[in-house]
């Protein structure tokens, strides 16, 4: 019987534009990109030149610190350009794709019969290592570390998040192979988080892993919450995390010997005409997903990821490596809302009881709401107390930790549990914050500072 962890604190944000459960294929595009900014803290080195021919699975970028961490082309084709920004910062390596994808053939194998080092190098060669992230710091896993456990995120409670049961359907063998590979990478356990209702059957049937049922509102699906409840991270310990949606990539590698990054991406948000799932590969040009399917008459924001912690991209940008969701929101710069702060705003979502949403939701639990990207208020000092606690289901004092991060007090941060959190854990706090403080950015900067100070690579 799987362990059940009940979570009361949190908030499920209901937005318009949930993806209908139907598969569409993205319109054809020849443009794909490998984007190093998807991988926080990476020092990239480009190993291809413009005009080089690459296969799906050929390395395009490597990490300067750990050259064994490779980032590979998702499709076969020709390197079209290497785009750099200010200070020659590498932004994208753009690949012009072939009509039919040609895969680099890699050896197959059964991870259960392989040595740990073989599994590791197979994953690294295939460019799938970045799927593994590490706590503390929430960056790509350090290959030399010995994680005390690996946590697999087996569902998602974020606003409009893809349904894992739908996305992972029929990939049971790939998933099991990937989980077997993960068990080789740690001496501890591999934990798999599952929702109380509607878990993907492929995950629920998985073997060789410790299943944990996380029951409650968002952020129940965040791995930090599971880690905090099961075995919190102490200073000096390392835990790796991976999203279950990335498991099929690893499975296909061992089963078929190819790097096939095809996944279903949920196209969601109030401004999408037909929200649905699209079959595509990470790095695909956003225009292929969005063109003709959004309400263009108003200013829009395209988010690769969910509305709480996704990253902003433009129409000419590319889908992020980790993202299985695209959210399109109304930017809201064209809205003149008179005396908005005192209005009832019936059609807006709010967790605050000065609005009617909490009441409406009681009577109409399936009701969803509009949203735009306006901050809806000025930035202030922290005034209201106990707000963050309501959506932070961990044994950590969020407000105190944020204060320590704001003043860059490293000792306090450590003492208050900074090693146990990722920026995404503060997304809800940031959403409900009356004082409109940029919390995820604050936590990110604090983690970076700590990483540099600790000399952790």
């Amino acid at each position: 019987m799987a362990k059940v962890i009940n979570i009361k604190k949190g908030l499920t944000i209901k937005l318009d534009g949930a993806a209908a459960k139907e598969k569409c294929s993205a319109s054809y595009t020849s443009l794909y990109a490998v984007t190093p900014t998807d991988f926080h803290g990476l020092t990239p080195k480009v190993v291809v030149k413009e005009g080089d021919r690459v296969l799906a699975g050929s390395p395009v970028i490597i990490d300067k610190m750990f050259p064994e961490i490779q980032f590979v082309a998702p499709v076969s084709g020709v390197v079209k350009s290497v785009v750099r920004g200010e200070k020659r910062k590498l932004l994208h390596v753009i690949i012009e794709a072939d009509l039919a994808c040609e895969y680099l053939q890699l050896p197959t194998g059964n991870p259960l019969e392989m040595e740990a080092s073989e599994v590791k190098s197979a994953i690294q060669t295939a460019g799938l290592w970045p799927c593994l992230k590490r706590r503390p710091y929430d960056v790509v896993a350090n290959p030399d570390a010995k994680p005390k456990a690996i946590y697999v995120k087996g569902f998602d409670t974020a606003p409009l998040a893809p349904d894992y049961a739908f996305v992972l359907k029929g990939q049971a063998s790939d998933i099991q192979t990937a989980l077997n590979a993960l068990t080789k990478l740690t001496e501890g356990k591999v934990y798999l988080t599952l929702p109380a209702k509607g878990a993907a059957t492929e995950l629920a049937a998985a073997q060789n892993v410790e299943k944990v049922i996380m029951n409650g509102p968002h952020p129940a699906s965040n791995v930090s919450v599971a880690i905090n409840h099961i075995d919190p991270i102490n200073k000096g310990e390392v835990v790796w995390t991976i999203n279950a949606l990335d498991l099929p990539f690893i499975g296909r590698l061992f089963n078929k010997g190819i790097v096939d990054l095809t996944r279903l991406v949920a196209l969601t948000g109030p401004e999408v005409c037909q929200p649905a799932y699209y079959s595509c590969k990470p790095g695909i040009a956003m225009s292929a997903l969005l063109e003709g399917n959004v309400h263009k008459e108003i200013p829009l924001r395209y988010v690769s990821g969910n509305a709480l912690c996704g990253s902003r991209v433009e129409m000419d940008g590319f889908l992020g490596f980790y993202d299985s969701q695209v959210t399109v929101l109304h930017e809201g710069t064209d809205v003149d809302e008179m005396l908005g702060w005192v209005m009832p705003r019936f059609d807006r979502f709010s967790s605050n009881k000065t609005y009617t949403t909490p009441l409406l939701q009681k009577f109409f639990p399936t009701m969803s709401f509009k949203a735009d990207t306006r901050v809806l208020g000025g930035e202030r000092a922290l005034i209201m107390s106990g707000e963050y606690d309501k959506v932070f289901p961990m044994d950590i004092l969020p407000e105190r930790l944020i204060r320590a991060c704001l003043v860059k007090d490293l000792e306090d941060m450590e003492a208050l549990g900074i090693y146990e959190v990722a920026p995404e854990d503060f997304a809800l706090c940031e959403y409900i914050c009356t004082s409109k403080i940029e919390l995820q950015k604050t936590v990110r900067e604090a983690l970076d500072l700590l990483k540099a100070e600790n000399g952790d690579e």
């Binding site: 809205v335 003149d336 008179m338 908005g340 000025g378 202030r380 000092a381």
Partner: protein, 403 residues
């Protein structure tokens, strides 16, 4: 709406940097964001934000204070006409109270907001809304007899020295409204306590009169009377014309006292609204009442005089206890900020209020002092709550490494 928006857009350059009136930039921005939701969109982190902001939160507290204000106006008139022995009818009573109370509200807001506007301009920040609440609370916790210029001086003092010097809203250690009151209380004690400041005797444009005309008039508040009667066998609290005061009258609030503090009914109406909307912490309110009841019961058990034998429900209804519990102890900036700390903080606010009130006859208004004292200790309480979280984490790591 469109034309107003266009007008603002036209005026904007004048108030922006380099414009003729750039010195009023913060004020203009304040009015602009008041009228229209700003167009700023999220730059980092979450792409969507909750609709709530500090304007709304503060305004909800002001809304919650309205019942107490309206009742305070009526009661001020009611006490006045009771003292002069005239039955003036509801509307005239209320009207007279309005005339008496409104100047306090206006002075408090003018002085406080004026200073806030200047401070915002100096710091180059947006105007902060915190004073909207303080400015409404200040008149409600004052006796009607205090001169307006004193209110102005005290408000200026506390906005500058209690709040802005520490960095403005969100950084003050002490409650701003209570600091105003405590400043007045110790600077001008004759205008803040005694028997003559609680009932206003003035003539406004021919309404009301400046002379007491009935026999047996006493302007003392019930708590003031309790102190005097402490050595007698039992308390015989009365209203201004010497009729005995029942519990329900205390609850309803038709008795002399600070303008907005007398009616527990009106305060509860607003206070429960705040708790229901989640603006005020119910934990603090509950624990304040619990702390008060606890201390009063202890006094009852060991009572040596009539005042100490006063039951806790009467303590709850007298003086500023209920008002303090709902509106001032719950000030999130100056109260304890940790959830566990709130219970402790509130309990001691209530406990100390009754202790001060009963043990020190010079300070019948124990609530003011106990909240200010606990404001100072709130950070200490939080410190220990936080420390226990830190210790738990440190211990966990120790156990782990010992294995």
């Amino acid at each position: 709406m469109k034309s107003l928006r266009n007008l603002l857009d036209k005026m904007k350059p004048t108030f922006s940097e380099g414009g003729k009136l750039s010195k009023l930039g913060s004020v203009f921005e304040g009015f602009e964001t008041f009228l229209f939701v700003p167009h700023t969109t999220s730059k980092s982190g979450t792409h969507i934000h909750d609709c709530v902001d500090s304007k709304r939160t503060m305004f909800w507290v002001v809304l919650a204070l309205i019942p107490a204000l309206l009742f305070g106006m009526f009661n001020t008139g009611y006490q006045h006409y009771l003292a002069i022995g005239v039955d003036a009818g509801f509307f005239q009573t209320f009207f007279w109270g309005c005339l008496a109370v409104l100047p306090y509200v206006i002075v408090s807001y003018l002085v406080g907001l004026g200073i806030e506007f200047i401070a915002a301009q100096i710091k180059g920040e947006e105007i902060q809304e915190g004073f909207l609440v303080s400015g409404m609370i200040i008149p409600l916790i004052l006796p009607i007899g205090v001169p307006l210029w004193m209110v102005a001086v005290a408000t200026a003092f506390s906005v500058i020295f209690v709040k802005e010097i520490f960095g403005g809203t969100g950084f003050n250690v002490l409650n701003v409204a209570l600091s105003t009151r405590v400043f007045l209380f110790f600077s001008y004690p004759t205008k803040m306590s005694g028997d003559s400041v609680w009932v206003s005797l003035k003539d406004y444009f021919g309404f009301g009169q400046a002379q007491v005309t009935i026999n047996g008039f006493t302007g003392a508040t019930p708590l003031g009377q309790a102190v005097v009667q402490a050595s007698s066998d039992s308390l015989a609290l009365t209203n201004v014309v010497g009729e005995p005061l029942t519990f329900w009258q205390m609850f309803l609030g038709l008795m002399p006292g600070s303008i907005g503090e007398t009616s527990v009914l009106a305060i509860m109406l607003g206070g429960l609204f705040l708790i229901f909307t989640g603006v005020a912490s119910w934990k603090i309110v509950v624990s304040v009442f619990a702390g008060g009841a606890f201390m009063a019961t202890i006094f009852n058990i060991f009572a040596v005089d009539a005042y100490q034998a006063m039951p806790f429900w009467e303590h709850w209804c007298l003086g500023g206890f209920a008002f303090g519990a709902f509106f001032m102890a719950t000030d999130p900036v100056t109260a304890a900020r940790t959830e566990c700390g709130k219970w402790i903080y509130g309990f001691f606010v209530g406990l100390l209020a009754i202790l001060f009130r009963v043990f020190n006859p010079a300070y019948p208004e124990g609530m003011m002092l106990s909240i200010l004292l606990m404001n100072l200790f709130a950070k200490v309480i939080d410190y220990y709550v936080i420390q226990s979280n830190i210790n738990k984490r440190a211990k966990r790591a120790m156990v782990k490494s010992a294995k």
